[in-house]
């Protein structure tokens, strides 16, 4: 007959269960509202610059540059907010948010290469917006409620860009990466403290 587990083990097990339940039940709140407003502003500037480029390669380079700038701004403001609200980025809901968000981003990077090689420039804006929105819908399941709603709006704009005339692509990028970031960033900053 198996001997009963020591009380020490059972107490540790109970504490572990409480911690895991709290981690699973909590949500990732460090999505930065002000950071998104800044990303939206740079995206509007990028849209203006990209529209004036003479070749598709330069247009693509402009948006890839904007992606790097947005990543730096978003990353920095997110780390700052995470420290301020004591919300860990790499464990619990934060880790699940990132795993869910980054998967569609990786797919987006891969599809950008494929579409570039195939010369399907007009499909890039819609693909980017759709996958960016997908990241926020899936990652947003572990965050505050407005995040998946924002993702859904990106997906709608992305669908319009994919199904509409090619000339709409740049307008959709400006409306999505610029307008939606600024609008939802404002909501997040006001309701969820920065």
């Amino acid at each position: 007959m198996a001997s009963p587990r020591p009380l020490h083990d059972r107490a540790l097990d109970n504490l572990r269960y409480i911690r895991q339940t709290m981690e699973r039940a909590g949500s990732f709140t460090a999505v930065p509202g002000w950071g998104q407003i800044a990303v939206g502003a740079t995206a509007l500037a990028a849209a203006w610059v990209a529209a004036r480029q003479p070749t598709p390669e330069l247009w693509l380079a402009t948006w890839l540059g904007e992606a790097i700038v947005a990543l730096a701004i978003g990353g920095w403001t997110m780390v700052r907010k995470a420290y301020a609200v004591d919300d860990p980025i790499l464990s619990g809901p934060g880790r699940r948010f990132w795993l869910s968000f980054l998967t569609p981003m990786a797919v987006g990077g891969l599809l950008t290469v494929v579409l570039y090689r195939a010369g399907l420039w007009h499909a890039l804006p819609g693909t980017w917006l759709l996958l960016y929105g997908t990241g926020f819908v899936t990652g947003g399941a572990f965050s505050v409620r407005v995040v998946p709603v924002m993702g859904l709006c990106f997906m709608i704009v992305g669908a319009v860009a994919l199904l509409g005339p090619p000339a709409w692509g740049s307008w959709c990028l400006a409306a999505g990466f610029g307008g939606l970031h600024i609008a939802f960033g404002g909501i997040i900053a006001r309701r969820y403290g920065g």
């Binding site: 020591p6 009380l7 107490a11 504490l15 269960y17 409480i18 339940t21 709290m22 039940a25």
Partner: protein, 121 residues
């Protein structure tokens, strides 16, 4: 005058606990010691409110099981339950009360004291 060496009865966990015998059944909050109830209280401690379906998915339990355990916590006034309609769909929402939060804190203190005591003993 009390005999020296007599066991002193307390309602809370005292720091100088020694050994596993120090854990007395009477001191443990049996109400939240049960796994599902402990899960409900822990989950509500990090959320303003959770719906019945959110708790069910989080704790991976059945409707009946969750309902029974939630009712026990409600009767002890550890949680409150509010029922409403979201459109035509009924929505049951639970919140942790101040008394429930204190009970969880006491339980955590108890577990930590137990671990300390068994390490020292």
């Amino acid at each position: 005058m009390a005999k020296s060496g007599a066991v002193r009865k307390t309602d809370t966990v005292a720091p100088p606990l020694r050994g596993e015998r120090a854990l007395r059944a009477a001191e443990l909050d049996r109400l939240i010691h049960e796994r599902v109830r402990l899960g409900i209280v822990s989950a509500l401690a990090v959320n303003d409110a959770l719906t019945f379906n959110e708790l069910k998915a989080l704790l991976k339990t059945t409707d009946g099981n969750l309902s029974v355990h939630a009712r026990k916590l409600e009767q002890a006034q550890y949680i409150t339950c509010s029922k409403s309609f979201a459109g035509r769909i009924p929505k049951t929402e639970y919140r942790l009360t101040a008394s429930g939060r204190r009970a969880l804190e006491r339980y955590l203190d108890h577990m930590e004291a137990l671990i300390r005591a068994t390490r020292q003993g």
